[in-house]
């Protein structure tokens, strides 16, 4: 990874950053920048806050070349937030269907009992699966891992 923003700030935050221990399947197809489409399939809103924090100046994920998109059709990674409620099963499947190939799916579930575990849905191209609440730092590290391959 080549940080390309202002030297001092970017370097400090980047270097102090710890990668997650969980191994991620090697994907080398996403070259340079990574486009992420987050979809909220009924989490308790905390994950949404973490996601919005990622775009804030504190984390500023754009400097890594990671961007959020408005449509799964432009995305490389689909970020599934929360356990799937019944009504969101079909939209989630349709969203996965709309992703351009190749694509990856990262599932982050919170610890609530509400909803169905996404494992049971049999989504394809799952590159990461977390069944605990992640904070913004963890999510960023996951995305960076995927980006590096």
């Amino acid at each position: 990874m080549k940080p390309w923003t202002i030297y001092g700030i970017s370097k400090r935050i980047t270097e102090s950053f710890k990668k997650t221990e969980q191994p991620v399947e090697r994907i080398s197809i996403f070259k340079k920048s990574l486009h992420v489409f987050p979809i909220d399939v009924s989490n308790d809103n905390s994950l949404n806050f973490e996601i919005s924090a990622l775009a804030s100046p504190q984390y500023n994920i754009h400097r890594f070349g990671i961007f959020f998109t408005d449509s799964p059709r432009h995305a490389d990674i689909l970020l599934v937030l929360g356990k799937v409620s019944e009504k969101m099963i079909e939209p989630l499947k349709e969203t996965v269907n709309q992703m351009p190939e190749p694509f990856g799916v990262v599932i982050i579930e919170d610890e609530d009992d509400v909803g169905i575990s996404a494992k049971d849905l049999g989504l394809k191209n799952v590159v990461g699966y977390f069944n605990k609440k992640l904070d913004a730092e963890n999510i960023l590290s996951v995305l960076l891992n995927i980006m590096e391959g």
């Binding site: 449509s71 799964p72 059709r73 079909e90 939209p91 709309q98 190939e101």
Partner: protein, 627 residues
């Protein structure tokens, strides 16, 4: 042979009382026989003649010469297709439809084989009334059918007047092998045929009747019936000779009609309204070609332009008849199986109905939008070439008229392509929305569609042979590496050339490799429905045909009278044909006047009626009371 064909049509009409399929089969046999008659008359020089005296010096009868044979051949192709198609399609309608289909074809046969005005009028009326009864076959189409009948009867009356003037001019009613300079005959006969062709401003009936009628009837009405108008006009030209002012008027009416028809077709929303307007457009082109022919003839007989323009009209007629029949038949099959009326609702014919009707729509639509290697391409190229050659004209009036007409015709071609893309894209192709077609026997339907498709491609490929056979061998040359006899030239000193057959060969060889690459690459493309937040799309949430043409409707809102109508919390964009409002205004005026007059005269007061009796009594005494 001719009487055998007429007899077969009558037998077919009679059989319609008992068995539909048999009746249509007899119609098919009779159409086949008509084709043979036309072929013999056109190419083998056989003249069918059967004439018997009626009263005084008037003798009526049948007569098929070269011109009648040519049109008989063109029309019978359409009859064959329609009668074969109806063997399956007619099962959904009442038995009497078979009778009227037979009678309508019989009427057209009589028109094309008429020796004199009486026989012509008999055929004209049989055709008109049978067509009227056929339009009524569709439930709730009384208003449209009556409108059709009203315009047809205006046409008939105008024709009767024309024959009266013909009789006063040459003291005979025969229409073949005679010459007359009667201007009134020319005017009234042209008016009659122009109404039948659906030329603007007499086109409103055509849209209504064609969109309401059963599809095989629409094909019949749109292709051979309007062809009768073309035949009438060419016959009039044969009788009166080429007239300069007639040519100018024909170009004006024809080009305006072509433009108007194409423009309205571009904005049409009904599945059969669009082809109906396309009929207006094509007939306008034919009329303009005939007018250009007349103009060129009066300008110079040395120039071959008048022959080429006439040939253009013939080729345009062939194109229109075959392709429009195919379009209405293919669309009719889909419409009947899906029970839908609008372009949007029949999307994905290739999936829900079948490959053959979808391919029929594509082929005929491409032909109308002048796609290279199809018959319409040859026809429209010829039309443009004819217009380009009008630089030869010396007089300013001729130049202005022909070039302005050319502008309108070119615009019409552009609009026609637009409307046909809309029709093809939103009916034959596209998502099919899991629509289930009604099961229906469709072997004969598909047979007739394949037959017409083969003709469109085949006649285009062998267009040069058609030229030679029709007696215009001088337009067929060889140059630019194309062997002799495969190149069509538009003038005697070569002006423009085209070779449909070699175009096909070159395209096939040049584009073979890219096509293979395309086929290989195509598999890697992922196709998904429109993104709607992950929700499934409803039928009406797709990009609709209305949306496709809305930009045109908005830009030309001054012409279309585009309006937004709000009703029940929903908004629609509606357009209107200006001529329709003119007719509506006329109808209103007539209704109000007749109501007021009748209220004044028949007011239910007894002393008024006594007064009438008194007035008439006095009047009779005054007039006849002389002793």
């Amino acid at each position: 042979m001719l009487s055998l064909a007429i007899g077969l049509f009558l037998i077919g009409a009679f059989l319609g009382f008992f068995n539909r399929k048999l009746s249509y089969f007899v119609a098919f046999l009779a159409s086949l026989l008509s084709f043979v008659i036309g072929f013999n008359a056109e190419f083998n020089g056989i003249v069918y003649k059967k004439i018997f005296p009626v009263i005084f010096s008037i003798s009526s009868g049948l007569f098929v010469d070269k011109l009648g044979g040519l049109f008989l051949m063109i029309a019978s192709v359409s009859w064959i297709a329609v009668s074969v198609f109806s063997m399956d399609f007619g099962e959904n309608y009442r038995k009497r439809m078979a009778i009227f289909v037979n009678l309508a074809m019989l009427g057209m046969l009589l028109i094309l084989a008429a020796f004199d005005g009486v026989m012509f009028l008999i055929g004209w009326e049989i055709m008109t009334i049978a067509s009227y009864l056929l339009v009524v076959e569709h439930d709730g189409a009384y208003k449209e059918a009556f409108q059709f009948l009203a315009f047809s009867e205006i046409s008939t009356m105008s024709l009767i007047l024309a024959f009266v003037f013909l009789y006063s001019s040459i003291n005979s009613l025969r229409i073949v092998e005679v010459h007359s300079q009667s201007v009134l005959f020319l005017v009234f006969a042209s008016l009659a045929f122009i109404i039948k062709m659906g030329i603007v401003p007499f086109h409103t009936w055509l849209k209504e009747a064609h969109s309401k009628a059963p599809s095989n009837v629409s094909a019949l009405l749109s292709a051979p019936v309007t062809l009768m108008g073309v035949y009438g006009l060419t016959r009039v030209i044969y009788i009166t000779g080429y007239t300069h002012s007639w040519g100018i008027l024909a170009i004006i009416f024809g080009s305006v009609s072509a433009f108007w028809g194409a423009m309205e077709a571009a904005a049409a929303k009904g599945l059969k309204v669009l082809p109906a307007y396309s009929t207006v457009e094509n007939n306008g082109m034919i009329l303009a070609a005939l007018g250009l022919s007349a103009l060129a003839y009066s300008f110079s007989k040395e120039s071959t332009l008048y022959e080429f323009a006439f040939m253009t009209a013939i080729i345009l007629s062939i194109t229109h008849t075959i392709a429009k029949t195919l379009l209405f038949l293919s669309i009719g099959e889909a419409k009947e199986k899906l029970h839908e009326e609008s372009i949007d609702n029949v999307r994905g014919i290739h999936k829900s109905v079948g490959k053959i009707p979808a391919f029929g729509v594509v082929i005929s639509g491409l032909s109308f939008s002048a796609f290279p290697t199809l018959l319409g391409y040859v026809a429209e190229w010829m039309l443009l070439e004819s217009i380009f050659q009008s630089y030869q004209f010396q007089s300013i009036l001729d130049r202005v008229v022909s070039s302005t007409g050319g502008v309108f015709l070119s615009l019409a071609m552009g609009f026609a392509s637009f409307s046909m893309i809309k029709l093809i894209g939103y009916s034959a192709l596209g998502y099919h929305h899991e629509k289930k077609a009604k099961p229906m026997p469709s072997l004969f339907m598909h047979l007739s569609e394949i037959f017409l498709m083969g003709l469109i491609i085949g006649i285009s490929f062998f267009a040069t042979i058609v030229f030679v056979k029709l007696g215009y061998a001088k337009f067929v040359i060889g140059a630019l590496g194309v062997p002799n006899g495969w190149l069509i030239a538009s003038a005697k000193p070569v002006f423009g050339v085209i070779s449909p057959a070699f175009f096909v060969l070159v395209v096939l060889t040049l584009f073979f490799v890219p096509f293979v690459i395309y086929l290989n690459k195509r598999k890697r493309t992922k196709k998904v429905v429109s993104w709607n937040g992950g929700l499934a799309l409803n039928d009406d949430e797709y990009f609709t045909a209305n949306a496709f043409s809305f930009i045109v409707e908005y830009i030309l809102r001054f012409v279309y009278r585009t309006k937004e109508v709000r009703r029940d919390k929903e908004a629609f964009v509606v357009i209107s044909d200006v001529f329709e409002s003119v007719y509506a205004f006329l109808v209103k005026v007539v209704e109000i006047t007749s109501y007021n007059i009748s209220k004044f005269i028949m007011n239910g007061k007894i002393y008024f009626y006594l007064l009438y009796i008194l007035v008439i009594f006095v009047g009779i005494f005054v007039l006849f009371g002389r002793v």
